[in-house]
């Protein structure tokens, strides 16, 4: 006989461990466990069968893989945590004795320093892995860089966040790897492509963040601690691939003056200082790396040139335009049914040349930081701004003649309403009256910059002139899908056949707000009309009676083959009958030599419309009937799958239909307004 297996010794019961058990096993406190999990990237798992996995009867438990916890047991950080705990005890004791000096000394000198580099190496064995996971890191670090310092968020952390994010931004600027950006309600989304990895992050607008009570900063601080280390290493790697020295030179004084990005100066590495790491790399895989490094070197040289000679201009622009010739050609499918293969949308060179020939001036009211970052990463090297906005500008002089574009975000007011400027004292930068326009330059609203980079080309600036109603700002990431609504395309292109008429009719029938109610009413009317027709047509013969009282929607819900068919049958029956009698009548009229009119001449147009609507409705119904017929021949499992898919598709298409109807109304309203 086989050996009787003991319960709970194999399978799910063994593979999963509850959080309490895990904490006990690791012999640390729950907050420490949380920190460890955050650092190590260990997350709970959902057992396939909760009952089998848990030994207790409590239903709400978090499960971890036992192997994950086993893996945590060997973590060097665990020892650090225990040291910390011991130290905390010592400090508490000395504080209890009133030895404050002792306590502070202990805290200062004996606090164990956590190093996370081994964890980062372990979690991201390759650099690409690290880049892939940078989304959340960047979003959180940019948030912390913009937070006010408080008891929970020490200024040191904020400064560190600011530093690493600025360093990262500098990398993006030098490599022109920023691709897209989007102004949303929440903040500004950016997307960059580094080594083929798309990284998207969100930067809040510069306002003091509202903090609710239910935010636990300790958790976020743990994440920030991990992410700053990660981004530090990523920055180092990114800089070293460019041959730049890391950390870049940081000018604290100009930073204090609000220079932000401009407080950093990138420096090339001297030849002798070649990093050991790269040398090691060369030894390991020479052939591939040498080529790469050569390329890198070329690039580096270029970057050094551009970075070092900040003020030189036009030659590079010319260069870059020449280079654009060997860019990828755009492949457009000629037939709509063909597949479209994805292509890289914008190369770094193209991006780098977008704003290169221009000199921008950012007005006081425009957001300087994002504009500077975007303009720089799209090739613009000369950006001036008002002195109020901080140091590091190309020029603080608004009247500078070199300026080609000025970014303004203020309403156009009549000049008289503007206050007069006090006479500028000698020597100071000449002030310009806020409303005045300096000839020879283009005034645009900030959205122009964003729309330009998303489109990859310069757009008409007059649409974005100050005071003008801006075109809608669209997200660059939404790809038009089949059945989805695309605001770029015209309404006529995406409407379903007859949708507009149907909608119109329903509008004309009743002015009701709810679209669904409209539809219902519509169908009801139709059915009534049909029943009337029926009586006329059938004459002596008895045709099967349809149950008109039942509403159409109810019928449709009824999945029964019979129930559905009944209506459809009568429908098509009626159609055919109607057509036949119509024809008959026409013939008769012809024979009699009378002009034939199906109804009164007055209601002809409306009748036609309703007939059309009816046609569409019947066509729809027929399609549905067909679908139902096909479904009948499917297996139960497949049918369920299909229904699920249809449900989700339907949801999407309903949403699209709603948007379309809204737009239709809007367009109609506009037309009406014009008339």
């Amino acid at each position: 006989m086989a050996k009787i297996k003991k319960k709970g010794t194999s399978g799910q019961a063994k593979n999963f461990i509850t959080r309490t058990q895990a904490v006990r096993k690791l012999q640390i406190s729950l907050p420490d466990f949380r920190r460890l999990c955050i650092f190590k990237g260990i997350y709970p798992r959902e057992p396939r069968n909760k009952k089998k996995a848990s030994k207790s009867s409590t239903p709400n438990t978090t499960f971890y893989y036992t192997k994950d916890i086993q893996f945590l047991l060997h973590e060097p950080l665990l020892r650090k945590f225990r040291d910390q705990k011991a130290l905390a005890k010592k400090i508490a004791r000395s504080l209890g004795r009133g030895e404050v000096g002792d306590a502070s000394r202990l805290e200062k000198n004996h606090a164990p320093k956590l190093t996370l580099d081994h964890i980062i190496k372990e979690r991201y064995p390759t650099f690409i892995d690290a880049l892939r996971d940078l989304d959340d890191a960047l979003s959180l670090l940019f948030l912390f860089a913009n937070l006010p310092s408080s008891a929970h968020v020490p200024p040191k952390t904020i400064a560190l966040c600011q530093r690493v994010t600025h360093e990262f931004q500098h990398y993006l600027i030098t490599t022109n790897s920023l691709r897209k950006s989007f102004l949303s309600i929440k903040g500004i989304y950016y997307q960059a492509t580094i080594q083929g990895q798309d990284i998207m992050w969100l930067v809040p607008y510069r306002f003091v963040q509202r903090v609710n009570g239910d935010v636990d900063y300790r958790i976020m601080a743990t994440f920030v601690e991990f992410y700053t280390t990660l981004l530090g290493f990523v920055n180092y790697r990114l800089y070293s691939t460019l041959g730049l020295r890391y950390p870049p030179k940081f000018d604290t004084r100009s930073d204090e003056n609000g220079a932000e990005l401009a407080a950093f100066t990138l420096e090339g590495r001297t030849v002798g200082e070649a990093p050991k790491a790269i040398e090691a790399n060369k030894q390991t895989n020479k052939t591939s790396n040498q080529e790469v490094s050569r390329e890198v070197q070329a690039k580096v040289d270029k970057v050094i040139k551009s970075a070092g000679l900040d003020r030189t201009k036009d030659e590079q622009v010319v260069e870059s335009t020449e280079e654009a010739s060997d860019a990828i050609d755009k492949f457009e499918p000629t037939a709509p049914e063909a597949d479209t293969l994805p292509q890289p949308d914008l190369s770094g060179d193209q991006a780098g040349s977008l704003f290169a020939p221009f000199v921008f001036y950012v007005s006081r009211e425009a957001p300087k930081a994002p504009l500077e970052f975007i303009l720089r990463s799209f090739g613009c090297t000369r950006i001036g701004w008002d002195a109020v906005l901080g140091d590091g500008a190309f020029t603080h002089d608004e009247t500078d003649t070199r300026i080609t574009h000025q970014i303004v975000d203020r309403p156009s007011l009549p000049e008289a309403s503007l206050p007069a400027i006090p006479a500028a004292s000698e020597g100071a930068v000449q002030k310009v009256r806020p409303g005045t326009r300096i000839p020879g330059r283009t005034y645009v609203q900030p959205q122009w910059v964003w729309d330009c980079i998303n489109e990859g080309k310069l757009l008409r600036a007059d649409l974005y002139a100050p005071g003008a109603t801006l075109p809608p700002h669209l997200s660059p990431w939404v790809k038009p899908t089949r059945g989805g609504y695309d605001p770029r395309a015209s309404l006529a292109e995406q409407e379903e056949e007859g949708e507009a008429e149907l909608d119109e009719e329903s509008d004309s029938d009743e002015e009701m707000e709810d679209a669904t109610e409209e539809k219902k009413a519509d169908t009801k009317e139709e059915s009534e009309a049909e029943s009337e027709d029926e009586e006329d047509i059938n004459g002596g013969m008895d045709v099967a009676e349809t149950d008109d009282d039942e509403s159409g929607s109810e019928e449709e819900e009824d999945e029964d083959f019979g129930g559905f068919e009944e209506e459809a049958a009568s429908e098509s029956e009626d159609e055919e009958e109607a057509a036949r009698t119509q024809h008959q009548k026409e013939l008769e009229a012809e024979a009699a030599g009378l002009p034939f009119s199906s109804g009164g001449a007055a209601g002809e147009s409306s009748k036609k419309k309703s007939a059309q609507a009816k046609k569409i409705a019947s066509k729809k119904r027929k399609e549905e009937e067909e679908l139902e017929r096909q479904k009948m021949m499917m297996s139960r499992k497949k049918r369920k799958l299909l229904e699920k898919m249809i449900y989700s598709n339907k949801k999407q298409s309903e949403e699209a239909a709603k948007l379309r109807s809204k737009r239709r109304k809007l367009e109609k309203g506009e037309k009406g307004g014009q008339k």
Partner: protein
């Protein structure tokens, strides 16, 4: 002592016990034996006692026998004193009882209670036994032994060997005292070291020396067994805290106790020197700057990166989806919520909202406020990252259309009936059966009112009506196939009627009547059946109808004696088969085959069809000489020419209502296809080549299926079924000539129109022989033509 002696002693002991038992049970005892034993016992006992003393010390005894001995031994001296007493007392008892039942006494005198002795004179002298005054007394034996000295102290007899006298005046001897026993024991010589045990290794008696015994004793008493050990030796205090007046050593205190250590000085100097030289730095708190520099990354972590295969259990955190149009600060106007949507959003709980924000149009960038929930959102994301269990879900990204089976479009499958074209009214009560004639012009119906009617199919005009039965309904009507003659077979009640309706053109009518009349000759020429046979199995004789019926076109009546529910013609039109499914019908008479040309009726089945109740319906195969018979659960195919059962089809239905055979499949594809309708709502398609079991089971009706029918011509691959739920369903079922491909069945149409009356909907249906039209008979008294 050796082993033999030991065993002997044991024997003695056991005998002793036996003897005691004898005393108490009152068994016969040999006095002499007892005496001998007793004397022997006395000796043995004493020796035994000595042995047992040793045993007590050893305490090795475990045997039962030894236990017994122990029991004996454990009784100490008082018991020793008692035993001899008892044994002595035992002897007189035996003596006294001699006259009653002793063997020895019976030897001397048989039954007299006196002895004859010679007195001194030589005369006989009768000496009578002493008369026991109360010989039924129980206490007699105890009294015998009593000391009769009365109430005087025993000390008076100290000088004498006896202690008194018994009732007979004999001296009671003083019992043996300890001293005497001791003296006896002393006299017996025991070898030194005798234990009474056997050495298991040698088999010889185990002898222990005195030392060994002593050792054993010490072990037993928990003492240290070593020789000469004294646990309580007096303590000698060599070292104590007491200051002695005289020190042990008189040497003076050394100098080094007062001079600083040179070695230590050397070591200190070494450190001082190191400090001076800067080799040892005094402690300095680390500066802030240094700490700062610790934060800075100064090496490439991925210098020697090696790709690691992704762990299958690792699920990377899902990325947040990119923002959509509605999240824009200046979205297209159609994305802005209407008032109603805004209201519902505001009223909903924050958890229930689909979006956490409301799309808003700010117009220009300067008007955009900070997003209040930013920190919270990021915090929630953090929580998700470390708290949320991750599950990998595979999303099917396929077009749902691709899942749908490819069906031929209804346009391709056309024509099929879809509209009710004609309604035939006229029957009172249900229309039970209908049939379209082979030319496709007329429709024959039969109903509950007992009439058979013939209608013009296209117009719905009634052409002919005959009331064949007053009380019984017409169960089934069937036209004879073939266009050379027009004959209608109808079953009403127990009778079958063959009708030539007078609606035809005269030539055809003449031909039909001739066909019908031809058989009468055969019937007449046939010998009349014997009376005995007629009772049971004789087939019925075809009869001429009554004149009223004959006038209205009925040509022949076949009295079947049981109610026929099914008629099916052979394709040539000479035979037809009827089935009487009633449970009272004898099995042999349920199925009858009638020959029109001979006016002959035969019962092909003499016995009941096995399994599944009475036969329900039967059909001839459209091209082969095969008869299909369905009973409640199976359909059987019989080869009529060879008279064999060819096939059994098991549709799995509980009660088959009707079935039909595909008209062309046997010629087109080589195999037969069958549709079976059942009262348990199933429509089953059988491919006889494939299996006995159904190829497809269709359950689209909510009530019992009454009739199923293939389209009779091979042109339209259609079939239909009629159900009690008042609907007909039309299917496309095409059989291809290819053996590999199965029949394709496509549901086409549900025809509704018949009213459900009395739980019954459509009772019968038939197809037009050429067109894709179908006719149905309803329980509501109407028939409908669908086209």
């Amino acid at each position: 002592m050796n082993a033999s002696k030991l065993s002997k002693k044991r024997k003695a002991v056991t005998r002793d016990v036996e003897e005691e038992a004898g005393v108490f049970s009152g068994d016969e005892l040999n006095v002499g034996d007892i005496n001998g034993a007793l004397s022997d016992n006395a000796n043995e006992l004493s020796s035994d006692e000595e042995d047992s003393e040793i045993e007590l010390i050893d305490d090795f005894s475990d045997d039962e026998d030894e236990d017994e001995e122990e029991e004996l031994d454990s009784d100490e001296i008082p018991s020793d004193g008692e035993e001899p007493l008892k044994k002595k007392a035992g002897k007189p008892v035996a003596d006294l009882e001699v006259p009653t039942n002793d063997e020895s006494s019976s030897e001397e005198e048989a039954e007299v209670n006196f002895r004859i002795e010679k007195d001194a004179n030589g005369n006989d002298r009768y000496i009578y036994d002493e008369i026991n005054p109360d010989d039924n007394s129980d206490y007699s034996d105890i009294d015998e032994n009593a000391n009769t000295i009365g109430n005087i102290p025993l000390t008076f007899y100290d000088k004498y060997p006896h202690i008194g006298y018994d009732i007979n005046g004999k001296k009671i001897l003083r019992p043996a005292k300890g001293e005497a026993l001791d003296a006896l024991l002393d006299s017996i010589e025991i070898p030194k070291g005798f234990t009474g045990l056997t050495d298991p290794s040698t088999g010889k008696p185990l002898e222990l020396s005195q030392d060994e015994l002593e050792l054993l004793r010490k072990v037993q008493m928990n003492e240290i067994p070593a020789e000469g050990y004294d646990p309580y030796e007096p303590l000698m205090e060599w070292f104590s805290n007491k200051q002695e007046i005289m020190p042990l050593s008189a040497a003076p205190e050394p100098k080094r106790r007062f001079v600083p250590s040179k070695h230590e000085a050397k070591r200190v100097m070494k450190i001082v020197k190191a400090i001076r030289e800067g080799r040892i730095l005094p402690y300095k708190p680390p500066s802030e700057e240094k700490e700062e520099s610790l934060d800075l990354v100064s090496f490439d972590l991925w210098a020697d990166e090696a790709e690691r295969p992704d762990h299958p259990m690792h699920i990377p955190a899902p990325k947040l989806p990119p923002p959509g149009y509605e999240e824009s600060y200046h979205p297209p106007p159609e994305y802005l919520p209407s008032n109603k949507e805004r209201k519902t959003w505001e009223e909903a709980d924050p958890e229930d909202r689909e979006q956490e924000y409301l799309p808003t149009d700010f117009g220009s960038l300067r008007k955009v406020p900070g997003y209040g929930e930013f920190v919270k959102e990021k915090f929630e994301r953090c929580l998700d990252l470390y708290l949320a269990p991750r599950v990998r879900r595979s999303k099917l990204n396929i077009d749902p259309e691709s899942l749908l089976p490819k069906l031929p479009s209804p346009e391709e499958l056309k024509p099929f009936p879809s509209v009710c074209a004609t309604v035939f009214r006229g029957h009172k009560g249900r229309v039970r059966s209908l049939n379209v004639d082979p030319t496709g012009v007329w429709l024959a119906t039969g109903g509950d009112d007992g009439t058979v009617r013939v209608w013009e199919l296209l117009t719905g005009r009634q052409l002919y009506s005959v009331k064949v039965s007053d009380e019984d309904p017409v169960n089934v009507v069937r036209w004879r196939p073939g266009k050379d003659a027009v004959v209608l077979a109808a079953a009403a009640g127990d009778d079958l009627f063959l009708i030539v309706p007078p609606i035809l053109d005269p030539e055809l009518e003449q031909a039909s009547l001739e066909l019908m009349d031809a058989g009468w000759g055969y019937a007449a020429s046939k010998p009349a059946p014997k009376a005995s046979e007629e009772k049971k199995t004789t087939p019925p004789q075809w009869a001429r109808p009554s004149s009223a019926l004959a006038d209205s076109g009925v040509c022949a009546v076949i009295p079947l004696r049981y109610v026929a529910k099914s008629i099916s013609w052979h394709r040539r039109g000479d035979y037809f088969v009827t089935v009487c499914p009633g449970s009272s019908t004898p099995a042999s008479m349920a199925i009858a085959i009638h020959t029109v040309s001979k006016h002959l009726t035969q019962y092909p089945f003499s016995r009941r069809i096995k399994g599944g109740g009475p036969p329900q319906t039967a059909h001839f195969h459209p091209s082969k000489p095969i008869l299909f018979v369905a009973n409640q659960r199976t359909v059987r195919a019989y080869d009529l020419s060879r008279q064999l059962l060819v096939k059994i089809v098991q549709p799995g239905a509980r009660w088959i209502s009707s079935f039909d055979i595909h008209p062309t499949s046997s010629t087109a594809s080589g195999g037969d296809n069958l549709i079976v309708g059942s009262y348990d709502r199933r429509l089953l398609w059988h491919d006889l080549e494939l299996s006995q079991r159904p190829y497809k089971t269709l359950r689209y009706h909510r009530k019992a299926i009454r009739a199923v029918k293939f389209h009779p011509s091979g042109r339209y691959p259609l079939f239909a079924d009629a159900s009690d739920d008042g609907s007909l369903q039309i299917f496309h079922g095409s059989v291809t000539g290819d053996m590999l491909s199965n029949a394709s069945i496509v549901p086409l149409k549900v025809l509704k129109g018949h009213k459900i009356t009395g739980e019954l909907g459509v009772l019968d249906l038939d197809w037009h022989p050429r067109e894709a039209w179908c006719v149905s008979a309803g329980a509501d008294g109407t028939c409908r033509l669908w086209m």
